[in-house]
């Protein structure tokens, strides 16, 4: 069980209310496909990058279920490990660090070190949940 402080809960909800999924989702994915080109191996069948909003919606589900993230992600974890076969090392370093950078650009000065820390903790929990179903 993850212990969230009131500040962290409020900050995560606030970040997700401020960002535009249609912009941030595709921007984050297209950024990491350029910055870490080996990740392109996973996207041959992904289709239109504008479906990347679906990744943001997955994250939004987590925001709504912050006290039960592991269960929320069981299906997605199995999907990423068995069907998509994504190397889990990619999650944090490639995709979520890029997401932090895109959100930082969107929020500018509001992405203070404290907000950044809360977001990074949130992403670490998401990564750990996505890794759970790998064997």
């Amino acid at each position: 069980m993850v212990a969230w402080t009131d500040f962290e809960r409020a900050t995560i909800k606030d970040i997700f209310s401020k960002i535009d999924y249609e912009v941030v989702g595709p921007a984050a994915i297209s950024r990491f496909l350029i910055v870490y080109p080996w990740t392109q191996r996973y996207f041959a069948g992904f289709g239109n990058l504008y479906n990347a909003a679906v990744v943001m919606q997955g994250l939004e589900k987590v925001v709504k279920n912050m006290d039960n993230i592991k269960a929320t992600f069981t299906e997605l974890s199995t999907l990423h490990s068995e069907k998509l076969q994504v190397d889990p090392d990619n999650f944090m370093s490639c995709s979520f660090d890029c997401l932090a950078i895109v959100v930082a650009a969107q929020l500018g000065k509001d992405f203070t070190p404290e907000v950044h820390a809360a977001f990074q903790k949130f992403l670490a929990v998401v990564v750990s949940s996505l890794r759970r179903q790998y064997y």
Partner: protein, 140 residues
């Protein structure tokens, strides 16, 4: 993943924009690192005050990075004495270089939301990785 001629061009061009605000950017990156990755505070126990506003060290770091940009063709040579400092005196675990690099990228992204395009991001990321490697040269 060595730096191509194109990468070096991009780094130099982008860094020209950075140099006017290097001190603030460096300070913000170090302060941010201490907040977001608190394990890094262990290297700064000799500082009396670890509050985010007191990160003058960021200016020192940025000056070294700016110097590295000007010597981008021989980073190992340029960073030799800093490598000895980090290896023998400071004894910073080199895994942390990536951490500071990430925080620097975040600050560059908040400071230059339009100029920090994916193409600039990849060139700067490669450059900072090369700097980290040069800094690790003397460790063992």
């Amino acid at each position: 993943m060595s730096l191509s001629a194109k990468d070096k061009e991009i780094v130099k061009a982008f860094w020209a924009k950075v140099s006017g605000r290097a001190d603030n950017i460096g300070g913000d990156a170090v302060a941010r690192m201490l907040t977001v990755y608190p394990q890094t505070k262990t290297y700064f126990s000799h500082w009396k005050d670890l509050s985010p506003s007191s990160a003058p060290h960021g200016a020192t770091v940025m000056a070294a990075v700016t110097d590295a940009v000007s010597k981008i063709d021989d980073l190992i040579g340029a960073l030799l004495s800093l490598s000895e400092l980090h290896a023998f005196t400071l004894r910073v675990d080199p895994a942390n270089f990536k951490v500071l690099s990430h925080n620097l990228l975040v600050v560059l992204s908040t400071t230059f939301p339009n100029d920090f395009t994916p193409e600039v991001h990849v060139a700067i990321d490669k450059f900072l990785t090369a700097v980290a490697l040069a800094l690790s040269e003397k460790y063992r």
